[in-house]
Symmetry: C2
Subunit: 67 residues, 2 copies
């Protein structure tokens, strides 16, 4: 799964630590999600989408092999 967290974060000029705090997760946890190391829960995806004023689908995209 791909994500556009880094881009959305840049738009808001937020650090990983700041975003992590907003969505209630550790900085390392957010880093692992952002770098594709692991897949977040739907609650975290929804919180992130809300924080960025966007949708889960804009933030996260299934790969062709994951469809």
């Amino acid at each position: 799964m791909k994500n556009t967290i880094k881009v959305e974060r840049a738009k808001k000029n937020w650090t990983q630590a700041e975003l992590a705090k907003v969505i209630g997760i550790s900085r390392q946890g957010l880093n692992s999600i952002e770098t594709g190391k692991f897949i977040p829960s739907t609650v975290l995806a929804l919180r992130m989408a809300k924080a960025f004023d966007t949708t889960v689908e804009v933030l996260f995209q299934l790969e062709d092999t994951e469809g």
Copy 2:
């Protein structure tokens, strides 16, 4: 977190077992998600949204306390 899986499933006239197969999860796993026992991964949420031709936000809603 609330969800509208049961309703979307009814629209398509799918059983839990059928939907579970489509998204690549066990029947009991899907049941636990549908009944709110646990929170699915974002990949599963995206697959479900795709299967239902809808969005993650339509399928899953944060409670006021989870925002």
